[in-house]
Amino acid sequence: MTGRLTNFLVKFNSFAKHQVYFQIIHETLTLLFPFVLVGTYVDFLNQAVFQKNGFLNNIYHVKNWLPGFKLLANYLSLLDLSINGVVAIAVVFLAANLATRKNAYYNIAASLTAVFAFMIMNFNGSFLAYTGRQQVNKFLENNLSYNGCFLALVVGLTTGWIFNRLGARSKKKDPHLMLRTSAWIRYNILPIAITLMLFGMFSYAASFFGRTGANGLVSGLYELSFSNYEWILLTAVCAAFLSNGFWFLGITGSFNFSGINAGSTIQNLEYAIQHGSPWGAPNPITIHTLFDSFANIGGPGMALSLLITILLYSRNQNFQLVAKTSLFPSIFNVSQSLLIGLPVLYNPLLAIPFLLTPVASILITWCALKLNFMPPTVYPVSSSTPGLLIGWLGTGGTWQALLISIINVVAGIAIYLPFIILDNRIKSSRRGEIENEK
C-alpha cells in the first residue's frame, strides 16, 4: 500500500516536472529567489526591528538607544515597499519571458505586454465609479506584492500562450529583428493588441463583481463563507486548508481572518484583564486561538517544521541552501523566501504535508484547549513574534502553551519527514539514472 502510494507520488512528481508550464513556474521562482531573499531580510528587519510594534524593538527597546532610528526605519520601509511591494510585476515579466523564450521575435514584446496586462488586471474598478472628494488609488497596490503572484503567473503564462499562438512564425532567424522597426511592429502589433484588450475586458468584468479586482474575487468568495460559523473546529480546519492552499497558489495576505472574530478576541482580552488570568476565557476556541497562534509557526504550513526537517534530513543541495538562508527570518515568522525558494509553492510533493501540518496542529491545539490543558491565547503579541513563542506569550507566559507549540512543531516534522525522505530517494535515483546513461 505504502509502496504503491510512494510510487504514485514519485510518478506524479516527475509528470508535473515535465509539464512545460510547470517548468516555467519553477524557473520563474528560481530566478526570482535572490530578489525574494533580499526582500525577506529587508522585510524581517523592517517588521521586527523598525516597526513600532516589532518584536525585537519591543523586547530590546531598540527605538530608545539606536541613533537615527527614525531615518533607518523610513529607509527600510522604502526598500520593503519597493522590493516586496511590487514583486508580482517581476513574476509576470519572467513568466511571459520564459514562456516565449524559444522565439526571439516576440520574446521581449510578450514580456512587456504581460506587465501591462497585469497592471490592467489590477486596475481599481472603483476609481472609475468614485466621484467623491476622497482620493482612490488607480491600481490595487496590495495585489502587486506576494499575494498577486498567482495572478501574475496566470497572466504571464496566458500572454506567453497567446504570443506563441499568434506571434509571427518566421522560419528565418533574424537577430537584428528588434533593430528593424517596421518588422518588429508588424510581427507584434496583433498579439499585443489582442492580449491587452482581452485582459482589459476581464478586468472590467471583474470590477463589476468586486472592488478588489480579479484577485479579490477569488479570495473574497471564500472569506464570505467564513463570516458566520458555529462549528469552529471544522471552520478552522477549512480555513487552514484554504489559506494554505492559497499560499500554495501564491494568493497570500488577501486571506485575512483577524477581522472575523475580532469580537470574541476582544471579549477574551477583556475577561483576562478583569480576572488577571487567561484561564476560563469565554471564547477558548476561535480561529485566532487555534490557527494564528499554533498552526502558523514559522509561517504558513508550519514552515519551521519544514525548515528543521530539511536542515536535519534532506540531502537536496538546493533545499539545504534555501533553508539555511531562510532560517533566521523564518524563526520570526517571515518566510516568503523559504516558501518561494524551496519551492513549496508549486511543488506537488511538498503540497501534501504543507496542507496537512496546520490541520494536525489545529487538532492538537483543539484537544489541549478542550481538555483545559492550557488557556487560550488572549493577549496581543507584537508582529513578527517568533512563531514558537506566540502561544507562550499570548497566554501571558504559561508553560503548557509553550509545550503545545513544541509538540505541534514536532508533529509537523513527523509529517514532513516521509516526503523529504521521498525527495531524497527521487534525487538519488535520478542521479543513478544519469550515471547509468553515461
Binding site: 517568533p386 513563542l389 501571558g396 507566559g397
Partner: protein, 284 residues
Amino acid sequence: MKNRWLYWILAIFLLLAVCLPAYKWNRSNITRLRNAGKTEMAPVIMVPGSSATQNRFDSLIAELGQEAPQHHSVLKVVVKTNGKVTTSGVINRNDNQPFIVISFQNNKDGKTNIDKQAVWLNTAVKQLISIYHFNHFSALGHSNGGLILALFFERYLKQTPALRVDRFMTIATPYNETSTSTVYKTSMFKELYNYREGLPESLVMYSIAGTENYTSDGTVPYNSVNYAKYIFQSEIRSFTEITVTGANTAHSDLPQNKQIVSLIGQYILRENFPKLNDQSQRRH
C-alpha cells in the same frame, strides 16, 4: 565535538536572550493593557433623593472627611429644568477621587419626574466628562437618587460608550416605590425591570437597606428595597445586599449613619478606614 558544544551553548544563550526580555515585555504589556484607557480621575457621583437639595450629602461628606485618610474635594451640580447646569465648589487639581453631587431643580417625587431627572443626570454627566475628562466613576444614590442612577445606567449610559461604572451603591432605594407588597409591581419597578439589560455587565453593585423595625426604615419599605434583586441579580458582575440596623436607621438619617459611612469608605472609596465596622467602641 568541541564545536558542537559551542553551538549548543550559543543556542541556549540566544534562546535566553530572546525569551527573558520577551517575557518581561509581555508582563509589562499586560499591566499596561490592564490600566489602558482608564483615567487617573474617577469621581464618586452622588445623587440625592427626592425633595433633597445639593446639600443633602454635606453631613455624609463631613463624616467621610473625618474618617477618610485622603481628602476629597466636592463639586455640587444643579441641573435646571431646561437642562442648563450650574455648579458650586471646585475639584482640587490633584484630587483623583472627588465627590460630585448632582441634584435637580425639579426634585419632586413620582415616576414622571424621576424619568426626567435621569435624562438631566445624563446631560450633567456628559458635561462633566467634557470638562474633567474622566472615563470611569463610582456612583452613590440615596433613596430615589438610586432610581435616577439606575435608570441612567440602563437607558442612557450607552450614549457615552467609553464611560465605565466601577461601583454603584444605593442607600434605601425604593425599587418598588412605597409598595410593601412582595407581589405587586409598580410602574417604576416595571420600567427598571424592562430596561435591565442595558446595565453594564461589569457593574459591581451594593444595595443597602436600613430598618428601624422589621418592615421599613420609617419611609421606605424593606420589601421595596429588596426588589433590587429582580433588576440587578445576574445582569451585572456582582450584586450585594446589605441590611443595616441599630441607631440612626431612620430613612433620612441613613446617609450619615456610621455603619453606612464605613461601608461607603470600604466599598466605594476603597480606602483603609480606621476601626472599620467596629461600632461597639464608638457609642455616642
